[in-house]
């Protein structure tokens, strides 16, 4: 009987989390869809001007900025993340690895506002002084996001390296391959699906980041044309304008959320799909 009660309680908790997800989805669509229908999906998705006070709700610059910033983050994050993964899992003794691992996981525990603050105080003035422009830029955002996605990339790709049968490494070494050849030619390709999944999850993290980006991207609603331009992503558009929005403007922010919802869903589905694929 006691077991049943506990079972019920657990079921309740599990169900309520699904219910909450369903409610969030429902409300985002209920609030946002009417506006997309009102101004037309094309004008909303491909419109280049966002001037809510004049009824112009084009989010194309923000979609582009979101991908631009994310791409920049991957540019920094992937090489750094992969290097860390290889270093921790292959090149240093496991005892030292246990020191590194918590340090990297700690990166994930730092609140994003701290990353944003650090970017604003340290990176932005550097960029302004050495590259010109206002400093609040895609470059600054990409660098900060690159650091923020490191834990995701490193943890998951290290797990996928660890999950490989030991015979892969032993076999490669027995055939006379050097340690580096084994890593680069055997282990990494074999763990490819897990590594790609980690990158895609990192991408999801990057696209969804809001607080740090509000602080360092500058939030201009213009189509960015270089890494030194200020930009506004989908998330920061919602974050920065939610407080004051009402009527159509508010709905347009929910509609921005719908687009974000689809992008994140697509990325997560892709990551799940890729990580399930077996290595042959």
């Amino acid at each position: 009987m006691k077991e049943k009660i506990i079972e019920k309680i657990l079921l309740l908790i599990a169900l309520s989390s699904i219910l909450i997800l369903a409610l969030i989805t429902f409300f985002i669509f209920e609030e946002g869809l009417p506006l997309i229908m009102k101004i037309g999906p094309k004008a909303f998705l491909l419109g280049e001007k966002w001037i809510p006070s004049k009824g112009l709700f084009g989010i194309f610059p923000m979609i582009a900025s979101s991908f631009w910033v994310t791409f920049g983050a991957l540019l920094f994050g992937i090489p750094l993340g992969l290097a860390c993964t290889i270093f921790i899992s292959e090149l240093i003794p496991p005892s030292i690895g246990t020191l590194f691992r918590p340090a990297i996981q700690l990166l994930a525990a730092i609140p994003s506002v701290i990353y944003g603050f650090w970017g604003l105080i340290v990176l932005v003035p550097l960029i302004r002084n050495y590259f010109g422009g206002p400093g609040l830029s895609i470059l600054a955002g990409s660098l900060v996001l690159g650091f923020m996605i490191l834990p995701t990339i490193i943890t998951i790709s290290e797990d996928s390296l660890k999950a490989l049968p030991p015979s892969y490494k032993a076999g490669a070494l027995a055939l006379g391959a050097t340690h580096w050849q084994t890593i680069w030619r055997v282990l990494i390709p074999a763990a490819r699906s897990g590594i790609v999944a980690s990158i895609i999850l990192g991408m999801g993290r990057a696209i969804g980041e809001t607080m740090a980006m509000i602080m360092i991207l500058g939030n201009a609603v213009k189509m960015p044309s270089s890494f030194l331009d200020s930009a506004r992503t989908l998330t920061t558009n919602i974050g920065i304008e939610m407080g004051y929005a009402s009527g159509d403007h508010r709905q347009a922010l929910f509609a921005t959320g719908i687009i974000l919802f689809f992008i994140i869903m697509a990325l997560n589905t892709l990551a799940i799909f890729l990580s399930r694929r077996r290595v042959h």
Partner: protein, 292 residues
């Protein structure tokens, strides 16, 4: 419960329940969950009845907080909750009575005019630049051209050869609306302008960027930034009072119907000379002319 289906033991030795059974429990439990939430919610509402809520413009918020603190010292039994959210949200909160008092840093328009509103103070908007900027005076039409993106280099204003970084507030902000009305008129603020979501954030960006220009409440100008004169008129309390400085907006308290009880008492306090003196000290322009 007597008709519950016989649970079957599965191969792991755990008791398996039918799917319908799960669903049944789920729905009952959800019912309990909602009941629980309801009770909690009810308790929460009960508690907030002990005080009044003042919500709205983030420009008014810091001053309202200050006044609320003072008020609560004089009236220890009452409690005033001050929340931000923006002018529009504040007015809406007053309409729906979510808040007893809505704070607005812009004039009411359209439907909103039916509300009972009181100007509790006035605030000037200052155009600010980096303290090292040599430019100390700008004509209004040049400011407009800078913010609309027609003038893009300080050189054109007599400064160094450096691109201008425009800093503005986000759409819907009361400060932005006032700036749009007073300075821009029908022109749009450049889409390339940096957007920050508070007076403090604008000031921070301009304090760090030697080629930036922006606008914030006069009361929040400090020595990190420099407020420029507009067409030769210096942004000062004296010039605001004598009407020479025109970038002035009202800080409104908005009520749904005549204020009563605690809300009325707080309003009276805010309009008292001691409270107005406090606002003057904080850089606002008092509405009560004679302050002893």
């Amino acid at each position: 419960m007597s008709k519950a289906p016989n649970p079957k033991q599965n191969r792991f030795g755990y008791w398996e329940l039918g799917f319908e059974n799960y669903l049944g429990f789920g729905i009952w439990n959800l019912g309990f969950l909602f009941l629980l939430l309801f009770i909690l919610f009810g308790l929460g509402c009960q508690r907030s009845k002990a005080g009044i809520t003042v919500a709205g413009s983030t420009s008014v918020e810091p001053f309202a907080e200050l006044l609320a603190e003072e008020y609560m010292i004089i009236h220890p039994k009452s409690h005033i909750y001050v929340q931000g959210g923006g002018s529009t949200a504040g007015i809406e909160a007053a309409i729906t009575r979510t808040a007893n008092i809505g704070m607005s840093s812009r004039n009411l328009s359209g439907e909103e005019l039916k509300l009972y509103s009181v100007t509790v103070a006035k605030d000037a908007i200052a155009i600010i630049v980096h303290p090292t900027n040599r430019i100390g005076n700008l004509p209004l039409d040049q400011i407009r051209e800078v913010f609309s993106g027609k003038i893009m280099n300080w050189k054109e204003l007599g400064g160094p050869n450096k691109p201008i970084d425009i800093v503005t507030r986000e759409e819907g902000s009361g400060t932005r609306e006032s700036f749009q009305k007073f300075v821009m008129g029908k022109e749009d603020i450049s889409l390339g302008a940096l957007v920050q979501d508070s007076n403090g954030a604008v000031r921070q960006v301009i304090a760090n960027d030697a080629s930036a220009i922006g606008y914030i409440s006069l009361g929040l100008v400090n020595d990190q930034v420099k407020a420029v004169s507009i067409s030769g008129v210096e942004p000062s309390l004296a010039n605001v009072n004598n009407g020479k400085y025109t970038l002035v907006r009202p800080f409104l308290f908005v009520f749904n119907g005549e204020p009563v009880g605690e809300a009325k008492s707080f309003l009276d306090f805010v309009l008292s000379s001691s409270a107005q003196k406090l606002l003057l000290k904080e850089g606002l322009v008092p509405v009560v002319q004679r302050l002893e």
